[in-house]
Symmetry: C2
Subunit: 199 residues, 2 copies
């Protein structure tokens, strides 16, 4: 399709977004050209600020846009517990639940030799040092279930064998509202294995 060059450039940029193909990018671009200049300027500013203003907390690895970390520097949070997560996205996900406000430790991925991600690529060393330094009493492994998540959980557990810290893992089992016949065998197996006594 022969668009004017600057319009085509915008479409090409929009196609970099996840799940956005040509049709969607065109739709977005047409909507953007209809926006007033002020909104487009805001858009530009938002994009350039997001990279320049946001940094990563050197302690927990969470996103921050000031010198204070929303989680590490929050006095109200439990100082004894660390929630270990794969990435920043999961931090927001758990925060959104609103029921539980721990401090976090972002690993920055999961161990996956197939994808060339080894323990030294992740913030595991930092986690161990932090547990010792901050005298953490419990770490909660809230990692995506599956081979990578379980390998990572196992690896961290082994490293902490001689450290005085309780290691827990979020429950793996059948999700609420699931149709049993559509669940995979591994989930069902875990659900049976991790069964709880109710009376």
């Amino acid at each position: 399709m022969k668009y004017p060059r600057s319009f085509q450039n915008l479409i090409d940029c929009l196609k970099l977004l996840p799940g956005v193909g040509t049709k969607t990018a065109e739709r977005y671009a047409f909507a953007m050209i209809e926006m007033d200049n002020e909104k487009l300027n805001d858009f530009c500013d938002a994009i350039s600020n997001v990279k320049s203003k946001i940094t990563t907390c050197p302690i927990c690895g969470c996103m921050q846009d000031s010198n204070k970390c929303m989680y590490c520097d929050d006095e109200k949070r439990n100082k004894d517990t660390l929630c270990v997560v794969e990435n920043q996205k999961n931090v927001f996900l758990f925060e959104n639940l609103g029921v539980f406000q721990p401090k976090y430790h972002v690993l920055g991925g999961l161990i996956s030799p197939m994808d060339g991600i080894n323990p030294e690529d992740l913030s595991i060393d930092g986690l161990i040092k932090r547990i010792k330094k901050e005298q953490i009493k419990e770490i909660i492994l809230a990692l995506r279930p599956g081979i990578e998540g379980n390998t990572t959980a196992l690896y961290i557990t082994k490293l902490l064998k001689d450290v005085d810290v309780k290691v827990t893992q979020i429950a793996q089992g059948v999700p609420i509202g699931a149709e049993m016949e559509y669940l995979d065998a591994l989930t069902l197996e875990m659900a049976f294995e991790n069964r709880n006594q109710v009376s």
Copy 2:
């Protein structure tokens, strides 16, 4: 959800795009923060250029990003025929077909008193003047079928009653590949009304 301010700003901007809700905007924002600086700069440039570099051809109303209109100044196009369309999007749609390369006239909408769009809000005056000035032999009304499209077509046809120009309209009928039972009554009615003799 408590995001850092600059991240939330980006999400809010992305939510201005059509069909993008909070979840999708968050997904896009997370993808953008993973992009390298060069790509984000390109993105900013693309957004700011699209408004500043693109203008509208004063003759046909099509988008152009130089002083030359891709359609009006294209010597290869048929000088006698004008394709009248609702908006710029449809120009690209028809161009993409590649089978037919007319010159265009963008109305900038369809007559719709319900939405407060009257004939004087559209480029209908310009169309009439242009037909006379450029000695157009045929105008093809390629407007969205429906009350607004048909009203606009009728209005233009009436205005051209005394002008020596052939007015045609794209065929309205059953689309290729359609399941007959899912088509609306009006489409089927038009299909019968506009039936063609085949032998």
